[in-house]
C-alpha cells in the first residue's frame, strides 16, 4: 500500500523541483497529444520551445517574448499576493479590459493635443480603472460577505460587453470609415507606449513588470504587510491574534491585483495592440493564474513562469502557421501544465511511504 504522511514543513527541494518536473511531464504528454492529432511531435515541441529563441527567425520573435511576458508577469504578481492570502481574484481579465478602456479613454480625450503629461495620465487612469473594477468584488466581500471568486468572474463578462459597446460607440474612431475600434494610439505620439529601445520589444510595461517583481519581493520578505499576507493564508487564527485586519487585507490584495491588471491593459492598448477593439483581450488574465501557480506564487518564480508562458504563446503561433497546429492545442497545453503542477504539489506537502498501513 502507498501511504501519505504529512510533512511538518513543505519541502524546499520539492517546491523548486515540482514546477520543473511539471513542465517536463507536460512536454512529454503534449508531444503525445500532438502526435495523436496527427502532427509530428518532436518538430512541434521544437517549434514551440526552441525556434522562438534560437531558430532562423529568432531575431523577430525574441522581442515578442518581452511583449507577451510583460502583461502576464504584471497580472500574475498581483494575483499571487491575493492567492497567498486566500483572496481569489480570478477576474483579472475584466480588470485588464477596464484598465485599457479607461487609460485609452483618457488618451483619446486629449487627441490631438501633444504633451508629455498625456501618457503618465493614461497610466494613472489605467491603474485606477483596474483598481476600481477590482474594488467591486472587494467591497462586496467586505460589506456583505459575497464570494469574490464569483463576483470577479461575472465582472469579466460585464467588462467584455462594455469593451464591445465602447469600441462600437463612445471610443469608435470618427475617421474609421464606420469600422469598429478606436483611433490607433500608435499614430498619436503623446499617447503611444513606444519601445524604449527600438527593436527590442522593451516598452514601459516590461519595466513596470520588473518593478512589480522587485516590489513584491521586498513586500513579501521585508515588510510587515507581506508577513501579514503570508500569515493570513497559512494560519488564519494566528493572523487574527497577530492583529491582521482581514477586511483591509482583502481590499489591499484585490486592489493591488486590479491596479496591476489595469496597468497591463493600458500598456497593451497604448503599445503592442494600439487600439481598443472588440477582440482586444486574449485571455492574459486567465493565463496569468497559471503563471502565478507555476511560479509558486513567488515573485522570481513568476518572472520565469511568465517568460515560459510567453514562449508557449509565441511558439504556438509559429506552430500554427508552420505545422497547422490548432490554436486550441496551446490552450490545452497550458491547462495541462497547471494540472500536473497542482498534482505534483503532493510531493511538497506529503511524504510518500510504501508498506502496509495499519488503518485505512
Amino acid at each position: 500500500m502507498i501511504r501519505l504522511e504529512k510533512r511538518s514543513q513543505p519541502s524546499r527541494e520539492w517546491s523548486i523541483a515540482t514546477p520543473i518536473l511539471a513542465v517536463l511531464i507536460t512536454i512529454i504528454v503534449g508531444a503525445m497529444l500532438f502526435s495523436a492529432i496527427g502532427k509530428p511531435p518532436f518538430e512541434a515541441i521544437r517549434t514551440i520551445f526552441w525556434d522562438p529563441l534560437f531558430g532562423e527567425f529568432a531575431f523577430y520573435y525574441r522581442p515578442q517574448l518581452l511583449i507577451k511576458a510583460a502583461p502576464l508577469v504584471l497580472i500574475a504578481i498581483g494575483l499571487s499576493l491575493g492567492f497567498r492570502a486566500g483572496v481569489w481574484n480570478i477576474g483579472a481579465e475584466g480588470q485588464y479590459i477596464i484598465g485599457a478602456l479607461s487609460g485609452a479613454g483618457v488618451g483619446l480625450a486629449f487627441y490631438p493635443i501633444e504633451g508629455l503629461y498625456i501618457l503618465p495620465l493614461m497610466v494613472l487612469a489605467g491603474a485606477f480603472g483596474g483598481w476600481l473594477w477590482a474594488m467591486i468584488p472587494g467591497l462586496l466581500k467586505v460589506k456583505f460577505g459575497t464570494n469574490e471568486i464569483l463576483v470577479s468572474l461575472m465582472l469579466v463578462y460585464v467588462a467584455e460587453q462594455l469593451l464591445a459597446s465602447m469600441s462600437l460607440g463612445l471610443l469608435k474612431n470618427p475617421e474609421g470609415f464606420g469600422f469598429p475600434g478606436s483611433r490607433n494610439l500608435q499614430q498619436y505620439p503623446s499617447a503611444h507606449n513606444a519601445e524604449l529601445i527600438a527593436g527590442t520589444g522593451m516598452h514601459l510595461g516590461v519595466v513596470a513588470a520588473l518593478i512589480a517583481v522587485i516590489f513584491a519581493y521586498i513586500l513579501l520578505t521585508r515588510h510587515r504587510l507581506g508577513f501579514h499576507i503570508r500569515l493570513a493564508g497559512e494560519a488564519q487564527r494566528a493572523a487574527r491574534f497577530a492583529g491582521v485586519e482581514p477586511n483591509r487585507l482583502i481590499l489591499f490584495c484585490l486592489g493591488i491585483s486590479g491596479a496591476l491588471a489595469g496597468l497591463a491593459g493600458l500598456f497593451e492598448v497604448a503599445g503592442p495592440a494600439g487600439q481598443v477593439s472588440i477582440d482586444f483581450n486574449v485571455g492574459y488574465g486567465f493565463t496569468a493564474i497559471i503563471v502565478a501557480f507555476l511560479g509558486r506564487l513567488h515573485p522570481v518564480g513568476i518572472l520565469l513562469a511568465g517568460a515560459l508562458m510567453a514562449l508557449t504563446y509565441i511558439g504556438g503561433d509559429i506552430a500554427q502557421s508552420n505545422l497547422g497546429l490548432p490554436s486550441a492545442a496551446i490552450q490545452v497545453f497550458q491547462g495541462m501544465l497547471l494540472f500536473f503542477l497542482l498534482a505534483l504539489d503532493l510531493l511538497t506537502n506529503f511524504r510518500i511511504k510504501f508498506g502496509k498501513s495499519e488503518v485505512a
Binding site: F83, Q161, S327, G335, M336
Partner: protein
C-alpha cells in the same frame, strides 16, 4: 420598439429551455458541495459535455445517445478533479480553475470539425392531456424529455437528501468529515461519487446547450453558464427546490433580455447582454448574508492521518 411582439406562451417555453442547462449544472454542483467539495470546474465540465454530446449525437444520429455520452464525458472529466483533490490533496479552488481552463481548451480542440454542423433534433414529448390545454399547455407540457428529466431529478435529489439514509450520510460528510470518518463512513469514496455525479450533471447541462438550446457547436459556447450555476447554488442556500426556482429565474432573465434585444428596446444590446451577470452579482449580494445553509466542511480536504 414593439413589446407586444413578445408572446408570453413562447416566452415561458423558451424560459424553460434556457433554465435547463443551469438547473442540471447547479443540481450536480449542489450534491458535490453537500459532500463538502467545492468544484469550480463546472464551466469546464459543461463545455466538455457540450462538445462530447454534440459529437456523439451527430455521428450516431441519436440525440439521446448524445446526452448519455455527455453525462459520461462530464463524469470522466471530473475524474481529473477527483485525482487532484481526493488523491493528490491539491487545493480545491485552484484545481477547479485548472479544470475550467483545461476544459475550455480541450473542447475547442475536440470540436474543431463540428463547427457549422446542425445536430439531429430531439423530438418533443407531449405530456398527454396536459399539453392540450389551450395557451399554457404547449408552453409548459410540450418539451423534450431531457427537460422533464431535469425537473424530475431535482425532486428526486430533494427527497433523497431530506428523507433517505444516503442523503444523511452525504450531508454528514459535508458537515464534518472527521466525525463521519470516525463513524466509519468512507469519506473519500462518498466524495468521489458526489464529484462524479456533479460532472455527469454538468455534462448533461452542457449538451443541452449545444443540442437543444442553441443548437450548434461553437467554441466557448457555455459563456459563463457554469459560473452562474455555481452562484445559483449559493443563491439557493444549498436547497434543491430553491435551485429549481433560481434556475427558472435566471432562465427568465436571459430569455427576457434576448426578447428585448429582438424587440429593439432603447437599451443598447451590450448592456442587455450583461444583465444576467449583473443580476447574478446583485442576487449574490442580497443572499450572501445568510450562510446558514453552507456545508461546514465545504472546500476543505480530508486526509485520514491516523
Amino acid at each position: 420598439m414593439d413589446l407586444s411582439a413578445i408572446n408570453p406562451a413562447l416566452l415561458i417555453a423558451s424560459l424553460m429551455v434556457a433554465a435547463t442547462p443551469i438547473l442540471f449544472a447547479a443540481i450536480g454542483e449542489l450534491i458535490a458541495e453537500k459532500a463538502g467539495v467545492l468544484n469550480l470546474g463546472v464551466e469546464g465540465m459543461m463545455i466538455i459535455g457540450a462538445v462530447a454530446g454534440f459529437a456523439v449525437a451527430v455521428e450516431s444520429g441519436s440525440p439521446l445517445l448524445g446526452f448519455a455520452a455527455a453525462a459520461a464525458a462530464g463524469a470522466a472529466f471530473s475524474m481529473l478533479f477527483v485525482i487532484m483533490t481526493q488523491l493528490a490533496l491539491a487545493n480545491q479552488v485552484a484545481s477547479g480553475l485548472a479544470l475550467t481552463l483545461f476544459g475550455l481548451g480541450l473542447s475547442a480542440l475536440l470540436g474543431q470539425s463540428y463547427v457549422g454542423i446542425k445536430p439531429p433534433k430531439l423530438d418533443t414529448f407531449d405530456i398527454p392531456i396536459l399539453s392540450e390545454i389551450p395557451g399554457i399547455g404547449p408552453a409548459l407540457f410540450s418539451h423534450d424529455i431531457v427537460l422533464y428529466f431535469g425537473i424530475a431529478l431535482t425532486f428526486v435529489i430533494w427527497s433523497g437528501l431530506k428523507y433517505s439514509r444516503a442523503g444523511l450520510v452525504l450531508r454528514a460528510v459535508g458537515e464534518n468529515h472527521d466525525a463521519a470518518h470516525a463513524l466509519g463512513y468512507k469519506v473519500m469514496r462518498i466524495r468521489i461519487l458526489a464529484i462524479l455525479f456533479g460532472g455527469a450533471c454538468a455534462g448533461l447541462g452542457g449538451a443541452y446547450i449545444s443540442l437543444i438550446r442553441v443548437p450548434q457547436w461553437t467554441q466557448g459556447m457555455t459563456a459563463g453558464i457554469g459560473w452562474i450555476a455555481l452562484a445559483l447554488v449559493v443563491f439557493s442556500s444549498w436547497k434543491p427546490l430553491r435551485t429549481l426556482l433560481g434556475a427558472y429565474l435566471f432562465g427568465g432573465i436571459t430569455v427576457l433580455q434576448l426578447n428585448f434585444q429582438a424587440a429593439g428596446v432603447a437599451i443598447p444590446v451590450e448592456y442587455l447582454a450583461m444583465s444576467p451577470y449583473l443580476i447574478t452579482i446583485l442576487v449574490l449580494v442580497i443572499l450572501s448574508a445568510d450562510k446558514s445553509g453552507a456545508p461546514a466542511a465545504l472546500g476543505r480536504n480530508f486526509h485520514a492521518s491516523r
